[in-house]
């Protein structure tokens, strides 16, 4: 592992959680929701309920006006969150509130670079650490732009989780893996979130290829919509990531004015419980 990776990166909540999963002999469930979707209050209710519903790691979307790698479900979630007044600062407040109730479940912020750029990289990293953020996934920062945020994050002790994709060929793979820490996120399709689902055998082969090059855990996402699909992924990878399907479930619980109907958070958490059931039963 890179010399930059200090203790916090190699030995933080993410590493500890994957070690625990390994000890349990099962894969993890990574759930994605967008911070502040559909409003801060409802989002907080969902967020706080996720660990008990079976989420092993949490990805929290940092809303952005122009999410160009996302499909309609997460685009809409991002806009709902922005309309509800969500900012990077309020996103970090959500994390801080969550940390007060849960010291162990890793939180990874996922989003695009510009809101972090506008916040100021150093200030953002300091505030994120203080709030209890464990990792960052920033879609529009490939290895070619590592100096922007990846290296400062590693120096500060925040995991920078890189996406590997079907287009990441043998030549690029070392660059993609180089400064990655926490886990590697394998994007199982060439495309945007919430659309096609990958073929299971292809995913298995891709995970094996990654595993032959890194000791880091490999999580697989994009296109996982059902407990069955999550279970299939859990058989071949260290974790299954579900985003659009959860966000869609949340959107189904909105009334015509876009307001959360009573019971929305419980319904979303119920769905997460089903997904967790799939993941946990996969290798039984």
């Amino acid at each position: 592992m890179s010399a930059l990776n200090d203790k916090a990166v190699d030995n933080g909540r993410i590493a500890r959680r994957f070690a625990a999963l390994k000890a349990e002999g099962r894969a993890g469930l990574v759930t994605f929701i967008t911070a502040g979707d559909p409003d801060l209050e409802t989002c907080r209710a969902v967020l706080h309920g996720l660990p008990a519903a079976g989420a092993d790691l949490i990805e929290l979307g940092l809303p952005f006006s122009d999410p160009m790698a996302d499909g309609p479900a997460i685009q809409a979630a991002s806009l709902r969150a922005l309309h509800a007044g969500t900012t990077a600062r309020k996103t970090l407040d959500l994390v801080r509130g969550f940390r007060a109730t849960d010291a162990d479940t890793p939180i990874i912020l996922m989003g695009y670079y510009n809101p972090i750029h506008a916040y100021g990289v150093d200030r953002f990293l300091a505030d994120a650490i203080e709030a209890g953020v464990d990792g960052l996934i920033v879609v529009d920062l490939p290895p070619e732009e590592d100096e922007e945020l990846c290296i400062p994050a590693l120096k500060a002790g925040v995991n920078f989780i890189r996406l590997a994709t079907p287009t990441t060929d043998e030549k690029r793979l070392p660059a993609v893996l180089q400064n990655t820490s926490g886990f590697v996120y394998y994007v199982s399709i060439a495309g945007i979130t919430g659309t096609a689902s990958a073929d299971n055998a292809a995913v298995g082969a891709a995970v094996d290829r990654l595993k032959s090059r890194t000791d880091l855990p490999v999580a697989v996402g994009f296109g996982i919509k059902t407990p069955e699909q999550a279970a299939n992924i859990a058989r071949v990878a260290d974790a299954a990531v579900v985003g659009s399907a959860i966000v869609t479930r949340l959107a189904d619980g909105l009334d015509a004015d876009g307001k959360a109907r009573p019971g929305l958070a419980e319904d979303v958490l119920g769905f997460v419980r089903e997904l967790a059931g799939g993941v946990r039963g996969a290798r039984a």
Binding site: D66, A69, E144, T195
Partner: protein
């Protein structure tokens, strides 16, 4: 800031113009961006590629277009001697086709089978649909629903040319959303699709490549001015949306210190009227990262991108090409702005004094000339890039003038 020996050597190998530019794209796209870069580098070294472009520009586009002495406008303004670079006489009526010819020839060299593009006013969409018809390639144009509603003639033109026009309903449904949607298409169809970006923006190598293809504008002006006046021009004026016509005019002159350059952004209702009232990314924005590059952007305090406003659909992009951001910071090019009203006045003035109906985009540059020329001596040679013709705009102009068509 130290002054570089040359202003023409950028970008560096990582696509940076100073701190601007770069390759801020998702990993899925990164191998494609690298492939385009490599293919472009090889093509540039191949005289046959250059020859094919020259041939198309001559026979199909109709280049060189004139550097025309606008005598009546010069007399009317009573100062600088004004020349128009007549890009509006190109096939399809704007400078956009220069870039499309270059990129479609590159896409063919790369063996790509399908072309996608974004468009705002529809000019780039029409130019792309045109070259796709010419080279018999399927063409998908992403266009915001808002823009589709206000640019109906161009939408129909694209369809006549055989393109599929996909309405974009995300975000504010204008140019930036069309670009997001084109990027989404590209990540989904990585194997066979080429993304033909319409301005000098986006991830490296697009800003440099589009600039190179548009530099034919400045190269011709250099030769033509030598023939007409026996010397270099004193100043160059162009409008900036993403910045392709401006950089195409400016780039060949960047290392001639006597040549002054002025780029005109869209001030909409006025830059002092708040961040949503204009589309002047450099004059009224700050640096950020969007669509693959670091550049000046219209954004709020939290880094959310704002929707600009301009009377001209071709200028209301919330960003600007990264080379312009750099040229601004180092002070080589002066960035100013023109309001909707100043633009409408200049539009009418040009129509009546020169018998040329300019595109509203180009009329922004004309508005600056109206301000600047009277204060300059008669031997000051000023070149305006008349980037496009205004037929597409007559409906919106009529509406603004309160005329029912």
């Amino acid at each position: 800031m130290t002054r570089p020996n040359t202003f023409r050597s950028g970008p560096d190998e990582r696509g940076h113009f100073g701190i601007y530019g770069g390759r801020f794209v998702a990993e899925t796209l990164m191998p494609l961006i690298l492939e385009v870069e490599k293919a472009y580098r090889e093509a540039r070294a191949d005289p046959a590629f250059e020859g094919a472009i020259r041939e198309q520009l001559k026979q199909y586009v109709g280049r060189p277009n004139p550097l025309y002495y606008a005598e009546r406008l010069t007399e009317k303004l009573g100062g600088a001697k004004i020349y128009f670079k007549r890009e509006e006489l190109n096939h399809t009526g704007a400078h956009k086709i220069n870039n499309c010819i270059g990129q479609i020839l590159l896409a063919r060299r790369m063996g790509k089978k399908r072309i996608i593009a974004e468009t705002g006013a529809g000019q780039h969409g029409v130019a792309t649909a045109t070259v796709c018809a010419l080279f018999d390639m399927p063409c998908v144009i992403y266009m915001g629903e808002t823009d589709i509603a206000r640019q109906q003639p161009n939408v129909f033109r694209m369809k006549l040319l055989g393109a599929e026009v996909v309405p974009v309903t995300s975000g504010a449904r204008t140019l930036k959303d069309a670009m997001n949607e084109a990027l989404r298409d590209w990540v989904t169809n990585v194997a066979d699709t080429y993304y033909l970006i319409g301005t000098a923006a986006g991830p490296h190598p697009y800003p440099a490549m589009v600039r190179d293809f548009q530099s034919v504008i400045g190269d011709e002006v250099r030769v033509q001015m030598q023939e007409l006046e026996g010397r270099l021009p004193d100043s160059l004026v162009a409008c900036v949306g993403g910045g392709s016509n401006a950089i195409g005019l400016f780039h060949p002159f960047l290392d001639d210190p006597s040549v002054q350059m002025v780029a005109v952004e869209a001030a909409g209702h006025g830059i002092d009227k708040g961040p949503l009232a204009h589309a002047a990314s450099i004059t009224g924005g700050r640096p950020g990262v969007l669509h693959g590059n670091r550049t000046y952007l219209l954004q709020d305090e939290d880094g959310q991108i704002l929707e600009g406003h301009s009377i001209s659909a071709g200028l209301d992009y919330p960003g600007v090409g990264p080379e312009h951001s750099w040229l601004h910071d180092i002070g080589r090019v002066e960035y100013v702005s023109a309001t909707d009203q100043e633009t409408l006045d200049a539009f009418q003035l040009c129509a009546r004094t020169e018998g040329i109906i300019p595109a509203l985009e180009s009329a922004h540059a004309l508005a600056e000339i109206v301000k600047r020329a009277p204060k300059l001596p008669k031997d000051h040679l000023m070149v305006l890039c008349l980037s496009g013709r205004g037929d597409k705009d007559i409906f919106s102009v009529a509406q603004h003038l309160g005329v029912k068509l």
